[in-house]
């Protein structure tokens, strides 16, 4: 192991030989990668490849079986609260409280992250202005469309000025207008504040257009990484989509429905 590389202060995320097993199933199989400070990093892979599991380990929601993670020099398993302050996250599914207003969701987040009151109120207003939800601040989140919820979640994820923002399929189900608006803002934030962006997506043209660096994971292993141009060159393909398919094959992956999916089906039955 190259220990000098591991100590590199320029690396905000540094993962070494990370392994996660669920029973006999190896979800993440000995992966190593790093993300530079201020980089826009795309983490791609078919369904069930291990993307979400990796993000959960990076964001303190899961512990690994072995391997080493450093987030800005700190291990999420050892110093979870310190690491939690450093990142913001937008999950694949909504994680807002439907029964609270947009503003209350922001306020809740600000309090949990110890943002002082005055600063918190200022930031909430400016972020909500930016995502164009300020005039809806007192509406309950359950009245919002999918796009509005996503915008609110991004605003919320940035409220504590994280050094890294994790976005797990942030543009899923968004129309092109919202998608572009969102990326414009994130790129701007990346340029101005140097916020590192770590995202997953199934839209290859999005990764191609936005990411500085890409890693492709399949069956729990990182099978390729580099810039989009490098990936295309290595696979002798014209587009990132073709490069992705040539690396991961054409077999359609199946994910079993989780209990949460079952519950969503039954959701109506239980409401009220």
């Amino acid at each position: 192991m190259n220990s000098d590389l591991f100590m590199d202060t320029n690396k905000i995320i540094n993962v070494k030989n990370l392994i996660k097993k669920f029973g006999d199933f190896i979800a993440v199989d000995d992966i190593s990668f790093s993300v530079d400070k201020g980089e826009i990093f795309a983490f791609l892979g078919p369904n069930g490849a291990g993307k979400s599991t990796t993000i959960k380990m990076l964001t303190t929601l899961l512990t690994s079986n072995s391997g080493d993670i450093k987030i800005n020099g700190h291990n999420p398993a050892i110093e979870p609260d310190l690491v939690r302050r450093m990142f913001g996250i937008v999950f694949q599914d909504t994680s807002l409280d439907d029964e609270l207003t947009a503003w209350e969701n922001m306020e809740f987040h600000g309090v949990l992250y110890d943002v002082p009151k005055k600063l918190r109120r200022e930031r909430i207003e400016s972020l909500m202005q930016f995502v164009e939800l300020w005039d809806r601040k007192d509406s309950l989140v359950k009245e919002f469309s999918g796009g509005m919820k996503r915008r609110l979640e991004i605003a919320r994820g940035l409220l504590h000025h994280p050094k890294i923002i994790f976005l797990d399929e942030p543009t899923l189900g968004l129309d092109p207008q919202t998608r572009n608006h969102m990326w414009e803002y994130l790129k701007d934030l990346n340029k101005k504040e140097g916020t590192t962006i770590f995202f997953t997506t199934h839209y290859m043209e999005e990764a191609d257009r936005i990411a500085d660096k890409i890693a492709i994971i399949d069956h729990g292993k990182i099978i390729a990484s580099g810039t989009s141009a490098e990936l295309k060159k290595d696979t002798k393909t014209e587009s990132l989509e073709d490069a992705f398919l040539s690396l991961t094959g054409n077999v359609i992956r199946e994910e079993s429905a989780t209990s949460v999916d079952h519950m969503r089906t039954n959701r109506r039955m239980w409401r009220k």
């Binding site: 939690r84 994680s95 309090v111 209990s259 519950m263 039954n266």
Partner: protein, 247 residues
Amino acid sequence: MKIYILWLRQIKRYLRSKSRILGSLAQPLLFLLAMGYGFGSVFQKAGQGNYINFLAPGIIGMSIIFTSVFTGIEIIWDRQFGFLKEMMVAPMSRLNIMIGRTMGGATVATMQGIIVLMLSMLFGFHPYSFIGVLLTIPVMFLVALLFTALGTMIASLLDDMQGFQLIMNFLIMPLFFLSGALFPLEGLPKVMSIITKLDPLSYGVDAFRYLLINSSHYDIGLDIAVLSIITGFFLLLGGYFFKKIQI
């Protein structure tokens, strides 16, 4: 402050769901009226006095156990709708999340208990003294804390709401029916008497009766001691299980 905001969230959610407040009042009221008036004369003839007076503290216990177990189990919904993730990635200990939520849930259940108390007074319940009514409130909170923690434990063991009916029928209903909420604990068959002694709600209902109608089966000191110990134990267990919740 963080615990306070978690607490506040539960209160806001409760006050906003009018249908839930109304819905969870219907059942205790039905019990109070149907049984209270239905068995009233039989109870009187058996020389036990006013049945509504006897029953009301039990019905308060009923509304508290149902509401608090339910608010505890609501963690499953937080998980389902994703909000649990927002809490879990926040820089705050799992134990404090559990404490904030449990406090909030217990406060909601206490408010529900107070509403049932006031309603039952409307329907002919006469508490013994005003001081007793005031002292009942912290005891309600203690009972609510106990069962919210129990609900949290159940929630962390269940994957989804499918198991909810099972819990209702095999745990909550028996806890309620075997607590002496509906009948006096004196002169029960041996087995029944032992079972009621093992039911934590028995001690809650008994404490309510002591404070509200100045009659009790156990000793009030014993009631509070048993409730406190079990609550402490359940909070620890609830905290332990809460840490195990996988998202």
